[in-house]
Every structure is written in C-alpha cells, then in structure tokens.
Point group: C2
Chain length 373, copies 2
Amino acid sequence: VIEAAAQANTTPKPGAADPLFLRACRGERLERVPVWIMRQAGRYLPEYRALRERYDFLTCCRTPDLASAITLQPVDRLGVDAAILFSDILIPLSGMGVEVRFTPGPQLSTPIRNASDVAKLRVADARETTPFVLEAIRQLRGELPTHVPLIGFAGAPFTMAAYLVEGGGSRSFDAFKALLYREPRIAHRLLDLCTETVGSYLTEQVRAGAQAAMLFDTWAGLLSPDDVRAFVLPYAQRVLKTVSGIGVTEGCAVPTIYYGGESAGWLEDCRDLGAHVIGLDWRIRLAEARIRLGPHIVMQGNLDPAVLLGPADDIPRHVESVLRSANQGASGDSAWAAGGHIFNLGHGILPQTPPDHARRMVDAVREISMRPA
Amino acid sequence: VIEAAAQANTTPKPGAADPLFLRACRGERLERVPVWIMRQAGRYLPEYRALRERYDFLTCCRTPDLASAITLQPVDRLGVDAAILFSDILIPLSGMGVEVRFTPGPQLSTPIRNASDVAKLRVADARETTPFVLEAIRQLRGELPTHVPLIGFAGAPFTMAAYLVEGGGSRSFDAFKALLYREPRIAHRLLDLCTETVGSYLTEQVRAGAQAAMLFDTWAGLLSPDDVRAFVLPYAQRVLKTVSGIGVTEGCAVPTIYYGGESAGWLEDCRDLGAHVIGLDWRIRLAEARIRLGPHIVMQGNLDPAVLLGPADDIPRHVESVLRSANQGASGDSAWAAGGHIFNLGHGILPQTPPDHARRMVDAVREISMRPA
C-alpha cells in the first residue's frame, strides 16, 4: 500500500492533469492565483456542526470515514483549489503518552514541566499510533477530484512543545517560556522528541498519499527573533528536511509549507528553512514579505479572517488589496499570477463566518486574478 | 495650581539637574542608557501585594496616597531612571459611562456593540472624572527625587475601543474586529470619543506635572498594516498632537512615547506619528527597528519579559544583546548610549518575576552601557 501511494504521489507531469495548487507550490507561472482556506473544514459550516451533534471532536478526528467526509465538505461548496485533512495538530500527542481533551479548547492530561516529565514522553511512530490519519488520507485520495490535491499537516515542534508545557491554550504561554529560559536543556530535549514525532507523522502522511505537507508553527511569534533562531527554526527545518527527504529516496517529492505566526520580525530567516511555501499572517504586507523572502519562495496568505465577518460586498476589495500587494513585489511582471502567491487567510477561518462569505472570497480571488492586473 | 505645575514642567536647562531619562527622550547624547520597566509598580513586588491585601485594585488607583505610594515602591528598590504613575489604562472609562471591575482581568459593565451603545457614551473631562489621578501626580512630583521624572500614561484610542467593544480582555478580540469591518462608521465614531477622552486625560496629566506622556496601544497588532493606518494610527496621532500642543501654548513641552504591540509589520508608519519615542515589543531586533524608524526616533525596549524568569546570571547576556542591537543601527558611533535608546522590557513585567531579577536587569543596563562598546 505504501509503495502504491508513494507512486500515486509522484510529481505529476505538466499539463492539464497537474493541479493548479501544486504548480503554484513549485513556483510555476499560472493562469490565476489558487486559493484555499485554513480550517476550511470546520465549525463555520452547518454540515460540520450537524455531524458534530452526533460525534465528538476526537471521534471525528480518529474515524477515517468521518475525517474524510468532513475534509470533503468545503471542497465543492467553496470551490477551493486544495483540500486539507480534517484533524488537529495535537492528535499525535496521544502517541507520545499525553492525552488531550477538547472542551472545546485543548486540555492536556499532564503538562510537561520538568526533566522527569520529559523523560516519560515517547517518540510516536505514526503508523502505530495514528493509523486512522493515514487511512483517512488513503480514502480521500480515492474520493477527491484529481484537480484538488490533498494537504497533510502537523504542528511544528515548537508549537507542539508550547501546548505540552502549558497544558492547553494560553495567551502568552508563560509557563512554556519560563521553561525555555530556566531550563533550556530540558526544553531542547522536549523539542527533539517533538521533532522526531512530527517528522514521522508528516512523513507517513506523505507516504499515505498527502500531496503537500504543511507545518503549523502558530506560536512561533512568542519569542524574540534571536530566540526564534534558537528554539523554533532549527526544529522546523529538521522536520521539513525529513519530509523532503522522502522525495529523494522514494520518488514522491512533495511541496512543503511552513506557517509561522507573527513572523514579521524574522521573516528573512524563513528563506533557508527548506519550505517551498511560506504562510503569512495578516500582520505584514505581502509586498514587504516578498522583498524579505527573496524571489524564490512562494507566499501563502494573508487576508485577515475578520474581514469575512464584514459585509460580503466589501470582500472583493480586500481580496484585491492582498492580490495587489503580492504582485507589487513580483519582479518585472504585472500578471497577478506571476507573484508566487497562493491566496489564503492569514489564520484559520473564524467559527462565526457566514459560509457564503468564504465562497465570496474564493470567487473574488478567481475573478480578480484572471483579469489583467 | 495648573499654571504652577506647567511651569515646573518646562523643559529644564541642560546640566546635572536635567534627568537622564528626559534627555534620552529628546535624543541627546548620554553618559549611559537609561532604564525603567513597564508595570514596574505592581504585582511582582511583595510590598505591593501587602498593600493589596488591605485595598482592592480600583481603590489603589483612585486614592492618591495609595497610587503615589505604589508608584514610589520600585524606584529605590530597582534604581530605575523614571517612575510611571500607578494606574490602569481603563480608569477613564468610568467617566465615559462604563464601569470596569477587575477580577483580576477587566470586566466592563456594558460592552459597546452598536450605534445606540456608542451614542450613550460621553467624552470624559479628566478634571471632572479622574481628579484623583491628577492629585496623585501632583503629590508624586513633591515626593520623587528630581533625577527620577514621572511618566503619565493613557491607553491609546484603538486599545481603549478594543476593551469597550469586547467587554474585557480577549486573545483575538473577535467582537471588536467584527464591528470594525461590519460597521466602520460606528467604529470611527467610537474611536473619536476615545480620542477626545484620552486627549483630555493625558493633557491634564501633563498639566498636573507628568514630565513625559506615554500612549499604550497594546492591541494595535490585531490588524493588518493597511487597517492599522485606517483605525489605529490617525487616532493615536491626534492624541499625541493634542498633548504636544500644550507644549506650544503653555510652555511645558513634554516628550511623548508611543508603544504599539506587534508593530513589526508597520513600523515605518510610526515615524510620522509625532512621538519622540517609540516603544517596541521583543518581536523585532532593535537594529532592524532603527533602520525602519530612521535616525531621529528614540527607541524604547525591548527585552522579552520572560527572560527575567530565567536564571539571574543569564540576564546580563540578554541585556547586552538588546543594547548591542540598538547600537548596531546607530550611525557612525560605537558608544552604547549614542543609539537613541531607552532600555525597557518589550511588555509589562510578569507577575511571577523575582524582584531581584528586575534589579539585576537594571544594574546590567547601567554597567554594560557605561563600558566602552
């Protein structure tokens, strides 16, 4: 099964069968800007809420039929250019020895606060501990239309460690940051364990058929640029290298995407991470991001999700502004799609978003980016 | 009384009597880098917690004897170069018609969500509604040593409006952002009312004797750079202009400081705000901030407060790194103090900080910045 999936996964030949989103990840020149939405499968959709009345969140994540059904929900409704597996970045923690409940925010059974807590953690082998994720991916590859590639994803090591230490969500993750500065060696050991776990988790998703691999480093922006270099980027880089590595040895090179929250202060450092695509929040103009990332990185983002709470008729104007900013930095070419840009929100879609507004955004990206710039 | 205070407030003649901190705000060349700490009077100090066992938070803010006693607590203990009035940015809300309780986070009696809510708000006249703040300032000017100037402060209009709409603290202020995009005209009316209130509040603090005026825009970073231009900066600029205006008409020019949270993506826009000093969080290197702010703005910041939770012996290394970054951008001069830099944390000191670590930071700034660079 693994070999077959790996084969299915091989970079397809150029032409109509090669999905727009994957060509965008490779930095190719395109007929229009592709678009998808972070958390496009989830709480803002009534069909998702209907399913959740019968099954709790973890059951949805752990049941391949449910996870794949939920993943498919937004694809036709929105007309997006990629699907992303319905799951949660904390799903691999169970395999490390930490149980997570969602109430609805995550609550961990035992926060990791010292050396002996860290010593009890295991590196999770994805095939043993999260086979349901791999099965959902295999199912989805049979169910998704060929022009809609499937993105697999994981939390980046730093963001996983943030939850492990804090024991749940937090505004400023003080306990986690205290550990980083008080006990940097313990923190690095924890980050190592997360790196191994995430590396296995994302690699196996690719082997199961995920056509792109995205690393979510939502909490990277907790630190100063120097400490991002110490605690955040080396670990993300290792995972990205591991995932890209299967491309070399198994002929299934997948594009990688790194999303770092609040990265405006250290964006230059994302150039050499090894990711094909850098996801950006809305706190920086794409024109500036392009200058700081250089010409070879594809940018993904970065409309403020709160814009979709405003009137539907205002959405195209905001979309155009993001497209224009992405294009402004494009060297010597005025076509929208030459900007090395995948349209997305700057963070996950808000649960209170009207689904029609999400559709309006997708349509606007399509329409505007096909017009002459 | 007002005239006398204004007189006392006039920019002093250069020389030994002219406090280091004020000379730093004016961009003068100094013998060392001055230092103070945001929230230096507060929960991390046992002498503050002892007072709070007898008086609740609002009583401390509203009683001049208590507010001034708390303001003085850290001055000798830490050896800082400035004092900042003990208060809270939400204190003026009561005069606008909204009561706030602290439990300990702020909870507003009635969140402002629509046009009729906004219509009920009043512009607060500081002399009528917050005389206790002005009285505390007058007392403090008699009690503080002359080399330790007193900073008055207020929340910036955008940050005040964020609390008014949300009804309290929040991670992402979704209700506030929804109002901005759904009802921009109502939002602008609310921001106008906050601007008038804050303008009066900060102006009267200066007239009462505050020697510098700081505007806290903690939540500015909620928005994209374009929306920061629409909703954040014009209002901050109006307040700063009003406060600077008293300098012109009443001969009591005070330095102004603007602190915008998560400003790395729109720092260039802070150049023309009219503030003498820009406060920065820890998410950007000061060397980069210097380039983007140009040579004429003084920078204040920006050590990550969590560093003070680590071992005391690590603190000087982190302090030196911030000093070095501030100096790196200084044009053609290698002395630390030529960098146009006031040392501070990048955000308020954390309540769990050992007071000795704060002292260690202050001492390190003093020692390192007096050494040849």
